[in-house]
Symmetry: C3
Subunit: 346 residues, 3 copies
Amino acid sequence: MSTRLGDLVERLGGRLIGNADQTVVGIAPLSDADSSHITFLSNPKLRTQAAQTKAACLILSEKDHEAIADFAGARIVTANPYAYFAHVAQFFATLHTPARSPGAHATAVISPSARVAASAVVGAHVFIDDGAVVEDDCTIEAGCVLGRNVRVGKGTLFHPRVTFLDGCSIGQRGIIHSGAVIGADGFGFANESGKWVKIPQTGAVRIGDDVEIGANTTIDRGALADTIIEEGVKLDNQIQIGHNCHIGAHTAMAGCVGVAGSAIIGKYCTFGGAAMILGHLTIADKVHISSGSLVSRSISEPGQYTGIYPLAKNADWEKSAVIVRNLSSMREKIRDLEKTIQSLGE
Amino acid sequence: MSTRLGDLVERLGGRLIGNADQTVVGIAPLSDADSSHITFLSNPKLRTQAAQTKAACLILSEKDHEAIADFAGARIVTANPYAYFAHVAQFFATLHTPARSPGAHATAVISPSARVAASAVVGAHVFIDDGAVVEDDCTIEAGCVLGRNVRVGKGTLFHPRVTFLDGCSIGQRGIIHSGAVIGADGFGFANESGKWVKIPQTGAVRIGDDVEIGANTTIDRGALADTIIEEGVKLDNQIQIGHNCHIGAHTAMAGCVGVAGSAIIGKYCTFGGAAMILGHLTIADKVHISSGSLVSRSISEPGQYTGIYPLAKNADWEKSAVIVRNLSSMREKIRDLEKTIQSLGE
Amino acid sequence: MSTRLGDLVERLGGRLIGNADQTVVGIAPLSDADSSHITFLSNPKLRTQAAQTKAACLILSEKDHEAIADFAGARIVTANPYAYFAHVAQFFATLHTPARSPGAHATAVISPSARVAASAVVGAHVFIDDGAVVEDDCTIEAGCVLGRNVRVGKGTLFHPRVTFLDGCSIGQRGIIHSGAVIGADGFGFANESGKWVKIPQTGAVRIGDDVEIGANTTIDRGALADTIIEEGVKLDNQIQIGHNCHIGAHTAMAGCVGVAGSAIIGKYCTFGGAAMILGHLTIADKVHISSGSLVSRSISEPGQYTGIYPLAKNADWEKSAVIVRNLSSMREKIRDLEKTIQSLGE
């Protein structure tokens, strides 16, 4: 399944310099590519390597194009070579993935009151409950469970063993990975003489278009209002989103992040792995939290924020940790010194 | 499905001031409630807002009742309005949730040696293994797997895709959310010349009454003895409980908490999100651990404990982190200063 | 099902001192063992207790054997009593676990193009996709999903509800616990004007022999190349391994550890619970990371490394945290003092 460079450019844009009839069968890194591949240069430091690649075609920026004289193959010049690479890779991935036939597997159980589009694929042992809506071109892989009255937008893909519970909705072109649980109860209890009384969680989870949710990630339903995930949000694996959170469009979170209930997070934010956000906070747009940092207060200003204890050899850490524990006595000593010196000076 | 205030008070207690025949159809926050709702005031700061609510009835404390003169609707006076709200919300949630019919779905696989109460609901694609016992009024939703000889107490609810493995037990009125795994092997190995030899995990997990376990939470079976979760414990999502832990009654843990093996945790404790507890520790009753803190030693005294690196703008963090790494040299400098000053003074 | 001591030693090695025809039915700790049990001593501090155990046989080291004169039962002397105990416990666990009959449950769905060994056990509601290979003596428990063209090596055990996705492979004698997801997409996106463009993840996950993977752990497939888990690696529950990681043989990770993409981790390493490793790092062999520590740079030297904020009563932590936030002003003060003293001295 080879593809003409001309066809690629027609589909994805960019300026082709070279033979439009040249074909490629896939994408490969600069060093591994051969004459059947297209490759890309996104880091100017690799220009020398790029000039020597054996690829049939090189995706690169205008600047890199001007700087590289001696590459003999074709070129696609574009403003964002890395994004162009992603689009090309998507194109080839679609070519190479065998399509499932539309329709439901014989072992799937679909409520008579559910509406599943004829173009949708429903895998083995799937359960779709009353009133659920699955739109055109969706794929619901083996072992998924869809609760009552859920709505799954056009072209959305659930990998095997996703749980998508009562009343939740997701927009178009979404991807949910295996083991994710959308719409479990939020963690809400009233304390009565030391015992916990459950507060029913009657909101849902509403997810926009173009959202991707990682394996074993959990997003809780709201207590009264809904938990909201806006369009274009990307969540990695093992993430926990508490009830009534609101995550702004195009924000991305790496693996193991936790967001406590009712946090309001802006658009275009990024969260490094295992960052933790306390509840009822507001985080502005374009805030970037470093991996492993705990956010304990609202952040109103864009920028990069960090709070991690520096790693050291254990023996060195033990020394610094003892001092951290006693920092107030160190401050006392400095104050004493200041006083002594003042009196000496006088 | 409206309910008389008189019936609510008969069921849940509290002192009704107003028309017992007034009906309400649900609960809503102070600001959203209309004349078909009951609402509640648990924070005295919101008294002004409470006086203006359009709700038909206000749940409030004796003190707030005395302080609010001008609210025209009915009142339910109670010692703990927030817990009362929770009970009312439970009542309405039960009214509004469509009940499943008792019995097992045709696709469920139930071992002939299992005993499943006739009043229990067993969903699609459930597997119940040999010798399992599922008591009256249980609901086992789609895709759950129950191992050999498990016991599920009266009225307990498993959401879809719970795994509850061989020999484990849970008491009455429990709730386990989707993706939770109860009774996987604990992490036990002997090291033999650098390689790990598995130590079989032959204990089980024993869970008391009124326990709730969050989505994708894991509780490991014991190595020889059992892992114990006492009554009333509430675990949020994505929590890991190691083998042979013992968690005291009514302790609550927020999302992403990890408890290493053989930790003994008291009653009435709370753990903030992503708190981590090392193994073989003992934590007293009524200990409260802040989010993101690592507990590396036993705690014998009740109280709030914290250990998190303060968040800062990345540039500021880099400055403080460098100094933390070199705190012992800072201490040296202070000692030198003290000596110099002493000699100057002499 | 009792076993002769002579048979145990023949199977597992060690030097038996005592009656080879003495039988035992199981293993128990020193304090709980009775005359039907075998027990073990791995900690010399427990010699007195060991001498008094009622067990029929004591596994112990040469040194402890020489030090304990008065134990009346049989002895098995071995270089590593703890590992010997693990082997004995495995032996008894195998005796006591009822075997499943080979073959596939009637509700399992197996693609005609998959090759499942006749000796394999395939549980209820399992789905095995096109081209998958399941070798001899494997057990695939209820609710597992095996993707296209996966390979599961001889004698490997999947507990219920494992997801093992397209193209992934695992060697012999592996164990994967419930809820684990192997081969979900890595977290790879190119940014295009603030929006994220998915980079297809076309690598797989390759897992060696004798690997154990905990409940709800996730291992992502590689972007282009594969994610590699070498032989003998042991991963606890709730662990996240990013795309293109390479984990060296016999490395063990405790629960809740996160490893970001493209990290290269050596052999014989250990990671405490909730340790986090950033991406694109290289960790040498025999590195040990303490629980809760974040590894933000490569480590080339073996040893123990730590980076955790020391836990304190909340009031004490608040004091130290304020100072940590202002450490650079403390350093300023010390510099000022040094200058003042210098000028005083002159």
